[in-house]
Every structure is written in C-alpha cells, then in structure tokens.
Amino acid sequence: MSNKKLYRGSLSTIILKLLGDNGRMYGYEITQRVKELTKGELKITEGALYPSLHKLEAEGHLQVEFEQVNNRMRKYYSLTEDGTKEVVNKLLEMEMFLQTMQGLLQPPLSSTTEFIP
C-alpha cells in the first residue's frame, strides 16, 4: 500500500530532524539517508524534497553554503538558530500527534472494559 499521503505532512519534520542529527547535508544525500533509515519504506521524491528545502530556507530555518565537490558545486543545507528551535517544536508536535493517533486507534483497556456487562 502506498503510504505517501501519510508521510507528506511530515516532510519538513523529517528534513529538520536529519539536519539536526547530521549537521549539514545536500539534497541527494537527504533522499538516500531517508531511504536507508526507513529500509526503503519511505522514498522522498525530488519533486517534494526541493520545494520543502527552499521553503524552510525562505522561512529562515535553514542556511546554505556552497562547496566545490569533484568538478561541480554542491549546495549544503544546515540548521540556523531558529531551525534548531523549530526541530524541538516539530518533534514535540509529532509526538503529540502520534499519542493522539495511538489513543484513537488503540483505546486504553480501562475504557474498553466499561462496556463489558
């Protein structure tokens, strides 16, 4: 089953978390790292990755630097001070969301037992 839709809203969180853990990364590296970490379960498409990176950059969460690698220029992204704070906020949001979803999908035992006659 394609779970692309489930992940779509979390792309910024994924990018921010990866950059928080790895310091600086470039576009292709992010796609490969996600693939590796999720054992191929989640594949970030190029069409979704770059707009997200550019949006986070425009919002001031990411800064960029260029470096000559082999015979080409490479654009590296890293977190700004604002971005570092945003990672904490996004992860908190995500945690709360997961808890809510868990509560919805797996109601605690006490609430289910109320209906037992």
Partner: protein, 222 residues
C-alpha cells in the same frame, strides 16, 4: 576499484540538459546538476556499464511529469512570499515608535503641501511617479549586477512587488477633479502617498538584503 565519477564534460552536458528543459536560472541549475551527478555516480556503483545518457534518463523519470516547471514555480512562490512578508515587517516598523513619528511628520507635511498648492493632484502624481521610478531603478540596478553572466531566479523575483506601487500610481483623481481636493481627499491622498513611500523603502531594503545574501553565496558572479 576506484569509484566512477561524472567528468567535467559531463557536468557541462548536464547544464545543457537543464537549459533544454527550460531551467534557465543558474541557482536552480546548480542544485539539479549536483543531484543528477550524485545519482548517476550512485547508479554506476551498481551498474558500471550504464551509459551517462541512460543515467540522465533514469534520474529524470524520478522527477514529476511536468519536469522541472513545478520546482521553479514553487520556488518563485516561496521567494515572493519571503519578499512580501519581509516588506510588510519593515512597513510595520513605521507604525511603531520611534519610526511612527517620521510617518506622522511626513503625512502632515504632505497634507500641508497638498492643501496649499494649486492643482494638488499633479503634485500627488509626481511624487508617486518619482517614488515608483526611483525604487524600480534601484532594485533593477541590484538585479542587473547579478545577472551579467547568468540568470538567477532569486534576483529575478526582486522586482515582483513593484506592481503594487504601480497599481497605486493608477489611482484616479477624486471626483472634485485636479484643482480642488476636499479635506478628506487630501488626508486620504497624504496617507496613501506615505504608504507607497514606506512600501517602496521596505521593498528596496528587502531586495538589498536578498542581494547581499546572494553575494555571499555566489561571490564569483559579483
């Protein structure tokens, strides 16, 4: 065995490919070229016999069916939002202390001018035109400095919001005509003129800071 790498000639080929796909902005090309080169090099590790051209095709299919257009459009929208939100932020400063003193002083001076001259609307239009042309000229200068050798999307969007000032310039005269303005028309026109001036200052300041950022990212083009 040594890792197979994309050569300098092939990098040029990738730039050419981007241009053929209507990616004319260097700041967009540079990221896509590195993406293609990195992906092709990774593919060569698994299939060393794959040709470079096959590699390009394999990477290109991963992009949306509309090619790179969506990428450019979305980047343009993001940049426009950034410019507009920074310009509003700058404008809000003129409604807060201490800059509000300058706003009030300017509004009063304009009110005095418009209420004490013959044919005040002519003065209104002249001030609007000077403000519009002056800021457009300054922003165009910034854009031109950066676009001598290559086109940059980030610089191309700088002028985007001059249309707001241009729109103000097309405001028709009040029903009383060019010669006499009522009290409220004079107040309204003074406020609108100050608004336009502040917007143009804000827009120029944002353009200037984006240009400075661009200079640090692409010093070779300055």
């Amino acid at each position: 065995m040594e890792k197979k790498q994309v050569s300098e000639v092939q990098i040029e080929q990738l730039f050419k490919f981007m241009r053929q796909k209507y990616v004319r902005y260097y700041d967009v090309q540079i990221e896509l070229v590195d993406h293609f080169a990195s992906a092709i090099e990774a593919m060569w590790e698994k299939s060393p016999t794959m040709t470079f051209e096959q590699g390009i095709d394999n990477v290109y299919v991963e992009f949306p069916i509309t090619g790179f257009n969506d990428l450019i459009n979305e980047k343009t929208v993001i940049l426009n939002k950034k410019i507009l939100s920074y310009a509003w932020k700058e404008m809000k400063l003129y409604l807060q202390f201490p800059k509000i003193m300058l706003t009030l002083l300017l509004t009063t001076l304009l009110y005095l001018l418009f209420s004490n001259v013959q044919q005040p609307m002519i003065y209104v239009y002249i001030i609007w035109l000077i403000t519009f042309l002056g800021s457009t000229y300054l922003i165009t200068q910034l854009r031109n400095i950066g676009s001598k050798k290559q086109q940059f999307l980030v610089l191309n969007t700088l002028l985007g919001f001059q249309s707001i000032s241009l729109f103000i310039c097309t405001v028709p005269p009040p029903p009383q005509g060019l010669d006499n303005l009522s009290f409220w028309s004079t107040i309204g026109l003074s406020i609108l003129t100050v608004f336009m001036m502040i917007f143009c200052i804000g827009h120029y300041k944002v353009a200037r800071s984006i240009f400075e950022e661009w200079k640090t990212q692409y010093p070779q083009f300055v």
